[in-house]
Amino acid sequence: MNGIEVILENCIGCKLCVKSCAYDAIEVIDKKAVINEKCTICGACIEACVKYGAIKITRVTFKGQNISEFSGICVFAENRNGKLASVVPEIIGAAQQLKKSLDKPISAILLGNNIKPLADELITYGVDEVLMIDNPKIGDFAEDVQTELVTEILKQKKPEIFLGGGTVFGRSLLPRVAVKLLTGLTADCTELEIDSGTKLLKQTRPAFGGNIMATILTENHRPQMATVRHKVMKEAEKQEGYEGKITEMNDIPIPEPKIEFLEFVEEQMDTVNLADADIIVSAGHGIRDPKNLEIIHDLAKAVNGAVGASRAVVDADWIAYSHQVGQTGKTVNPTVYIACGISGAIQHLAGMKGSDIIIAINNDPNAPIFDVANYGIVGDLFEVLPELMKQVK
């Protein structure tokens, strides 16, 4: 197999690597591991074989730009409707942790129309330099225009790290920028750290629906790019009087938009924004009837939370898809997740495992949701929820 090899004298045929492989790409033949063509070189087996060191990956990555020219940490200040996206202070918070190890300034790319107040706000969060283009031609939803401008600013400013939000917008814009710059991008990171020896950015992220964590490096290309999962990193604190500067990048031409904005339709349900909610009350199959969803909405209202749902409830057309939490729905990271009548299939867990505190209410004491719950109540949710509402009030 290209790039990956088994060092035969180290291999003892223990099959640990076979068990670690998600792609069924390793067999043990005559007590030696053999890697077949299904291998994606994901590296899981290397980890499994740490003790024996019998599997090796060799790579000669293509030549990128001169990495010594790149310096500093840059963040993308996503904004809409005159407001910074709620993920932005979190990314700045993450950048400040990196700044402690790198001792390099933090810059922020800010694009839009009438955004000067946001530049000032970014500085109070501890941004050293705001790279701003304030122009009526830059629309909130003009992702194609913003992609070009971000790329051009990065080409000129050459930061060694560029971070964006793991939002719908960020996870669409940054991949395109990374291809334009021919550099690496790691999606939806939950942990960022500077390696004390190499000074590289260690980008840790969940994969396989949160069942595996991977730490990724971009060694030979710059900037090292990552999107950051919302509600995981600690927000930067506001520091009134922080001294930062605003640099207007007005010499960059603004391209004609290829995507025309027609209309934004806010979801009608009052508390649907699962991405921003601190508390989510979620309904599963145990709700039994769409009429019973009322109690979920009532509890959500009582605790000022958003309403989530398992796939079963969405597939039955009892609630809109935008409420679905899980592998084929949304991934959420609230402070409190209250799972009501949700058994906890692996696909659902994939979407909510990252919650700080999980409270499960289910009448089946063996439901897998109790394995991940911090607190659980075994009981009929139609008795538990009214009681909970009563006592909360």
Binding site: N2, G3, G210, K258, G379
Partner: protein, 270 residues
């Protein structure tokens, strides 16, 4: 209308269990499936063809066993399939993958519209779609929940894109790459005739040397990102389960939350 769908074969996590002692996936006997989001992309492609005519070609990059997924696509009624397979592609990250897929689509003569799922359930990155669009110098829009209309004469399209707090209606022009969410449709089941056709189908395959590509830019060597470490997330510490009388359970829960510094009722004031 030339419609291309990019799909990925992924391990089926539906029946995957977690080893409670080590908190690792038990992967033995896990089958491979078409990435669930990609099923919606195939369905949407078929619906576009039904409405506007044209051809649907499904392409996938991966090991030879991806043939089974492409045969499944044939059984659903797509016109053509293409496998991009070569040992030289192994270890590709999203940059190398999107470069390779774009080269294959160019080799096929391009497309008016390319559809993909929002993300794959193994990697969860969602980066290949926008990457392919960039390599093809084409507009892209992610997270589409509805195609409102396609004007084939003027080559324009109106789509609805799902956002965190609602959706946005956008108009753009073809050629275009979109990624789709589950809400967009309900995928059909394969027909008997389709299954017969799939069984007999030969799957055309392109290797690295069939494509006009820079061999340094594919597979492991064409990938700027590298996996440094893979590990299992920490095992959840055993939770506190109350299974007594309801009112007692609830008050015990609220007491514990309070001790942990959480007051459900006071959140609004905070």
């Amino acid at each position: 209308m030339k419609i291309v769908v990019g799909i990925k074969q992924v391990p089926d996590t539906t029946n995957v269990k977690i080893n409670p002692e080590t908190n690792t996936l038990i992967r033995e006997g896990v089958e491979s499936i078409i990435n669930p989001f990609d099923m919606y992309a195939i369905e949407e492609a078929l619906r576009i063809r039904e409405k506007h005519g044209g051809t649907v070609t499904v392409i996938s990059m991966g090991p030879p066993q991806v043939e089974t997924s492409l045969k499944e696509a044939i059984s659903l009624g797509v016109d053509d399939v293409l496998l991009i397979s070569d040992r030289a592609f192994a270890g590709a990250d999203t940059l190398a993958t999107s470069y390779t897929l774009a080269a294959a689509i160019k080799k096929m003569g391009g497309a008016d519209i390319i559809l993909m799922g929002k993300q794959a359930i193994d990697g969860d990155t969602g980066q290949v779609g926008p990457g392919v669009a960039e390599h093809m110098n084409m507009v892209h829009v992610t997270d589409i929940r509805k195609i409102e209309e396609i004007d084939t004469e003027n080559k324009t399209i109106i789509v609805e894109r799902l956002l965190e707090d609602g959706y946005v209606r956008l108009r753009t022009s073809l050629p275009l790459l979109i990624t789709v969410v589950k809400e967009i449709n309900e995928p059909r089941l394969p027909s008997l005739k389709g299954k017969m056709k799939a069984r007999k189908a030969e799957i055309p395959t392109l290797t690295a040397k069939d494509l006009e590509i820079d061999l340094e830019r594919i597979g492991l060597n064409g990938s700027p990102t590298q996996v440094m470490k893979i590990f299992s997330p920490p095992k959840p510490s055993g939770g506190m389960i109350f299974n007594g009388e309801v009112s007692e359970s609830v008050s015990a829960l609220l007491k514990e939350l309070k001790n942990a510094g959480l007051h459900l009722s006071n959140v609004e004031e905070n």
